[in-house]
């Protein structure tokens, strides 16, 4: 003998969902016409702040997918003080992230010691060719303006010295 109250309850659930969807709309979003409300720290794409990068290669080495390609060279810069020795700095030639390989783990953002990589909530960068998903440093730099400000410190948090 079938369990009639349970069956009726199940039918009620689907019927109620149908009516709510009909009157109040679905939980899904009709994407090209309307956009989803994203969470404040959404991981959409990785933005690069080029002047912070020291070509330390930590992100490239930690990347589980090996999707970050970095090339750089050493440069002499004028000394900080008069009569000092010229400084040697690393200049960034190439910083590419292959988004066809990236799995959005965020390890590169975590591991970056100089805050050169940030999460941006932008997600509309699909391409018709898979090769076009290799984004260079100019393109990664353009996303810096979309990076949200860091969340405010909690009340009572220690002030930066």
């Amino acid at each position: 003998m079938p369990d009639i109250p349970g069956l009726a309850k199940g039918l009620g659930v689907t019927f109620k969902t149908m009516i709510t969807t009909w009157t109040k709309g679905a939980v899904t979003v009709q994407y090209p016409h309307e956009k989803e409300d994203l969470a404040p720290r959404t991981r959409g794409v990785i933005a690069l702040k080029e002047e912070n990068c020291t070509v330390c290669m930590l992100c490239a080495r930690e990347c589980p997918d090996w999707c970050i390609y970095i090339e750089g060279h050493k440069e002499k810069r004028p000394p900080r003080r008069e009569g000092g020795k010229p400084r040697t700095v690393n200049a960034l030639d190439r910083f590419d992230i292959d988004y066809a390989l990236c799995m959005y783990c965020g390890i590169c953002v975590e591991v970056c010691p100089f805050d050169a990589l940030f999460w941006s909530p932008e997600y509309e960068y699909s391409e018709s060719s898979i090769a076009d998903l290799l984004h260079d440093k100019d393109k990664l730099g353009e996303w810096m303006v979309t990076v949200p400000d860091p969340p405010a410190l909690e009340a009572g948090a220690a002030k930066k010295k």
Partner: protein, 343 residues
């Protein structure tokens, strides 16, 4: 036969009737598929369903799918029994086609009102088992074979409660002709109140439940969708089919759903009958509308159940048919017969 004051001889009339039925089957499949499979199912899962094709709520989706299926290559597996493989979907579709012949949509709107109407309908509806077995066997695919055997076992098991549930109606109406059953309901009265006639759902509510459950299984709709259980059998007997042959299976499934809903509406809800126009041209005009509304109501029940419940296990499925539905329908027949004799 006089229709709109035009006399037609046998062959033109038959051609016109065939053409109408051949147009009704895809139309029925598209309507049921769009309203229930795409839209109602989506809404029950808090989705919108297709919204883009055709501009207005994706109404063109299924028609576009049909066009796509027709364009596709006709693939037949190299090991398959080519001729049987090719004919199988047609056999299933023919079974659906034959069902439509006896369903009345108005006092005169019926292809052929047979004296054994409901008996004929149930007989041709079981023809599809042959097509399904042909499809499964000819595919040379173990999933297809298992699926078709499951389908055969299930369809034969649920044929019995379907027939036995109908016997109650036949006893009460004193006829097997579907027109006769409609008239029996139209002329009936509920304790002397005869405005809406006496739809047999009131006296045959148990039979109606059994008929719906058995029809659900005949259509292989969830929870009786073991034959096409996609997690274990890919698509059952349809696994090797693509293109327009798959389209035939799809149309047959939804065309049969429409036909069985129409038969259920005729048997239990009074068919095309509405209380205002009992004869004449207005009854013929209103008939399809009224019958269509009742079909949509029954189809709603069928698809509502389909989208709510998970799949039966094979043994539960057979137990439900043999140990619950068949004894219940036998009791229903006995009670109906006793009342028929007493009253």
């Amino acid at each position: 036969m006089r229709m709109l004051a035009i006399e037609l001889s046998y062959w033109p009339l038959t051609l016109i009737k065939t053409a109408i039925v051949l147009m009704v089957i895809p139309a029925a499949a598209v309507i049921l598929g769009y309203v229930f499979l795409l839209k109602m199912m989506a809404h029950m899962q808090s989705r919108m369903g297709p919204m883009e094709p055709g501009g207005y709520h994706g109404w063109f989706q299924l028609i576009g799918d049909g066009i796509k299926f027709i364009q596709k290559e006709d693939i037949i597996p190299s090991e398959a029994d080519r001729r049987v493989f090719a004919i199988a979907p047609l056999v299933v579709l023919v079974s659906t086609f034959l069902l439509y012949i006896v369903v009345p949509a108005g006092p005169r709107l019926v292809v052929q009102d047979l004296d054994v109407g409901i008996f004929y309908a149930l007989a041709v509806s079981s023809l599809s088992v042959i097509g399904i077995l042909m499809a499964g066997w000819a595919s040379a695919n173990k999933f297809a074979l298992l699926g078709s055997l499951r389908a055969a076992g299930q369809l034969i098991a649920y044929e019995l409660p379907l027939v036995l549930a109908v016997v109650g109606v036949v006893i009460q109406a004193n006829t097997m002709s579907l027109q006769g059953i409609v008239h029996a309901q139209a002329d009936g009265a509920i304790f002397g109140f005869g405005l809406i006639g006496n739809p047999f759902i009131l006296t045959q509510i148990v039979g109606f439940g059994i008929f719906l459950a058995a029809a659900q299984a005949e259509l292989s709709q969830s929870p009786f969708d073991m034959p096409v259980a996609e997690s274990e059998l890919v698509a059952g007997y349809m696994t090797e089919y693509s293109g327009f042959r798959f389209l035939f299976f799809f149309m047959a499934e939804f065309g049969t759903a429409f036909a069985l809903s129409a038969i259920a509406a005729t048997l239990y809800l009074g068919g095309w009958y509405q209380p205002f126009f009992k004869t004449g041209i207005m009854a013929d005009v209103m008939g399809p509308v009224v019958l269509g509304a009742k079909i949509m109501l029954i189809a709603f029940l069928i698809f509502w159940i389909r989208f709510t419940f998970p799949r039966f296990r094979e043994d539960q499925l057979q137990t439900f048919a043999w140990k619950f539905l068949i004894p219940l329908s036998l009791v229903n027949i006995m009670v109906t017969a006793v009342f028929k004799v007493v009253l």
